[in-house]
Point group: C2
Chain length 384, copies 2
């Protein structure tokens, strides 16, 4: 790991960032200039002004803004916009490399919810979609909700829904192996931030039972008086909240543990108290909720992490490029729940014969962006 750190610093210094902006039309002579720019371009402006769709004439149709305020970057916390930029540029580079989607980082020097909403709305004409990134909970929920309501282009908070979709895809395949029915599961989600909330919602949307959602304050339940709006919503839709307690209590007999929290919060002893053939998704990065080796020793049948050096890497790169590729190509105005569900199913179906060490495609699976995009397009078309 520490090798990657030093090599990454050197890579960034050498290349001075990770994206470049290139002309894609000829610009070699006056003739070219007269068509791409003045005077010819005036006619294009007028076509749009007369009511033609601007997306037919501009890069905006295929361009996603990767918007952050730097408030919850990787596991590093609130490091601000400048320090978050390498992550946003990386994401922009991945959008193009994995799905042919143009993406540009917008790191905002404000963490005020209303200002962020206003700014994203103001810059929206340049873009075909908005990927919210590394914005801390609970602000991320309000920002996403409002932008979805107030913009007519797709808005997607990847830390929430990208994670939820890959988790669902992995879980679909894990259940095929352990031969359990989703209806019968006892699921514990540890972590009630952006990812935890979105996973809990998507699992219930997919027909899974309500989850036990725990965080550092214990079980997200009616016993708590410190819940934010998004967590309170979970009480109604997605969480078993009639009891009081914490992870150590609810882990008893659990079939599935999904950790989207911090390192080393799940013990071997707790894994031993889970149901038969337990499924452990320990997704905290870089240090998982439990070391995968320890989890296996304690009886975990299937273990997934967020890391590339263990089997079953739960990596959003399997999802976000294809989600936007499909949404942009189909002209969808929103990323719907059905799109997310179908994307997860499509991703799961890429693993033909799931095994405990192979429940999810490799991040470099070349088909992943396309099957996800197709799933999204298909839903978009049936809605027309």
């Amino acid at each position: 790991m520490s090798d990657y750190f030093q090599e990454s610093i050197e890579l960034h210094k050498k290349y001075k960032g990770k994206i470049s902006i290139e002309p894609k039309v000829p610009l070699k002579n006056k003739e070219d200039l007269s068509k791409a720019y003045s005077p010819g371009v005036a006619a294009v402006c007028q076509e749009i002004k007369k009511g033609e769709n601007p997306k037919e004439f501009t890069t905006a149709k295929n361009t996603v803004a990767v918007v952050t305020d730097g408030s919850a970057v990787l596991g590093l916390g609130n490091i601000g916009p400048e320090a978050s930029l390498p992550v946003m540029e990386g994401k922009a580079a991945l959008f193009k490399a994995f799905a042919g989607v143009d993406a540009f980082p917008i790191a905002l020097d404000t963490q005020d919810t209303e200002e962020i909403i206003k700014i994203v709305k103001a810059i929206a004409p340049t873009f075909g979609g908005i990927n919210l990134e590394d914005i801390s909970a609970p602000r991320c929920f309000e920002i996403e909700k409002r932008l979805i309501q107030e913009l007519d282009i797709p808005v997607f908070h990847d830390d929430q829904h990208g994670t939820a979709i890959v988790v669902l895809a992995g879980l679909i395949n894990a259940l095929k192996i352990v031969k359990k029915k989703k209806e019968d599961l006892k699921i514990v989600i540890n972590g009630s931030g952006a990812a935890g909330v979105a996973i809990a919602k998507l699992l219930t949307d997919a027909g899974f039972p309500k989850s036990y959602i725990t965080d550092s304050g214990g079980l997200v339940s009616e016993c708590r008086d410190d819940l934010n709006e998004a967590q309170k919503e979970l009480l109604a839709c997605c969480s078993i909240s009639s009891i009081c307690g914490g992870l150590n209590e609810v882990i008893d007999g659990a079939d599935v543990f999904i950790g989207v929290s911090v390192g080393n919060v799940l013990t071997k002893e707790q894994v031993k108290r889970m149901a038969d053939s337990p499924i452990v998704f320990a997704l905290a990065n870089p240090i998982p909720e439990i070391d995968p080796q320890d989890a296996k020793e304690a009886g975990a049948f299937i273990v997934a992490t967020g890391r590339s050096d263990y089997p079953n890497q739960i990596n959003n790169v399997l999802v976000f490029p294809g989600i936007f590729k499909g949404a942009l190509s189909s002209g969808a105005k929103k990323i719907t729940t059905e799109m997310k569900l179908k994307a997860a199913e499509a991703l799961a179906s890429l693993v033909e014969s799931p095994t405990p060490d192979n429940i999810i495609p490799d991040p470099f699976n070349r088909q992943a962006p396309d099957v996800v995009a197709s799933a999204v397009e298909k839903v978009a078309k049936t809605k027309e």
Copy 2:
């Protein structure tokens, strides 16, 4: 001209815009991903958080935002952000093609001065410089002034200063031909918007006498009660304002006419009333203030326009790519008056032996961006 219109529409439909965003680091395998993105990138974020210059690790150092609100686009007026986007994308493409500068269009869905200032400040961490574009006067003056004050990256309103710099360069060479001294000139500038104001200021900064500045309301003078703040500033610094009247009066005996207004406002008869060897810059686009042929027939010795189909095209593309190239590479925090003056001189010097039909380099002169950039860098260095 009309051919260009149709061909431009076809070009834009075919390519779906004019820029693309490309990864510039390898992204072929897990190893690459671990360095360009998670987990390696966390180390880069931390370096920046610890105080390292973000510009050393990101594309921001070489990236300019082309910001507009769509309020004064080409000669088309207030057509809004969507319809302005083809111009902004064109400009972004030119930045890269002419000077290797990455540039990205930001078309804003607001025309409120304070909101624009706030938004540009908020998105600034992503950029190394701000090119303001096609924002109407007088709002453009306040927006530029405030952003220059409040940001520590270069902010440049190209419609003002790009135009002023090319005009000055052309004028420097024109004077060599007519063998007049700048101190002795009677200069008439028709148009008191963004370009007119900036030209008047830069000419006086360059040691030219105050100009007669006229617009549709007559001479910008103390007789007027309809002047905006920027125009009032001209009264003190740059304009001869002690008389009342209009273009038709002040054109008598003028050595230089600079039109940055609208088509067909200067008559042959008026050109005949100018001084010996009159210099006529009729820069309105696409229809000049006077047809170049008519101007010649009326005795104009040197005629320049904004058009590519006549000699002496006054085209900002000679300036803005090099200005930002030099500012970004030298780390300059502002574009100073001295940089503008030196850029104009450098540009003028590219024409070795000026003639009436060759006072300014061709827009495709390959040396122009570099000599302009060098001039800017040299000034930046002497200020350190």
